[in-house]
Amino acid sequence: AQSVSQHNHHVILSEAASLELGCNYSYGGTVNLFWYVQYPGQHLQLLLKYFSGDPLVKGIKGFEAEFIKSKFSFNLRKPSVQWSDTAEYFCAVKGLTGANNLFFGTGTRLTVIP
């Protein structure tokens, strides 16, 4: 069965600090990988996605993520966070064979202190 693990439940950073949020998935086949963000009071929106090709993908607002197939990981990074990055971040995986619905991790709450 597919599963997604996000080990950081709540991360607190000061502005300008670097960010890395961990995401590991369990799935035996080819996958598409996603990071979604939910800003306070807003709905879930796509931050970035990986389908194939360059394992380093860039998303909106300066975020990037690296797919490491051997580690089943898809960690999210940002070199310098801003107060406006305060949000909940969800990693998700979608298998391309069998049940291809989207599986979400439990989310990581990021609080950026000005």
Binding site: N32, H43, L44, F90, G95, N100, N101, L102, F103, T106
Partner: protein, 115 residues
Amino acid sequence: EAGVAQSPRYKIIEKRQSVAFWCNPISGHATLYWYQQILGQGPKLLIQFQNNGVVDDSQLPKDRFSAERLKGVDSTLKIQPAKLEDSAVYLCASSLEGGGYYEQYFGPGTRLTVT
């Protein structure tokens, strides 16, 4: 373009009552999803429609939950009777098609509290 619309935004009911949620997807999107997000967890897929047909409802508690998308556009999700553990945010999402390469767009959700 207009996003995914959901109503109501909030609902409080007592256990054993029934409740219904409505979703209007983005125009032209063939695939519609209902997710349940319990506090502290990520969204979990309940049911996926392709046009007006069900693609996946394996996680839907069919003894109390039902969903329909009769004309392939709007959808309703119903819970009858509700239990305390149904307290959650119910998210609707839509995508152009249902394959793994299509982005899902989420609505604002309906927050259900069962007392």
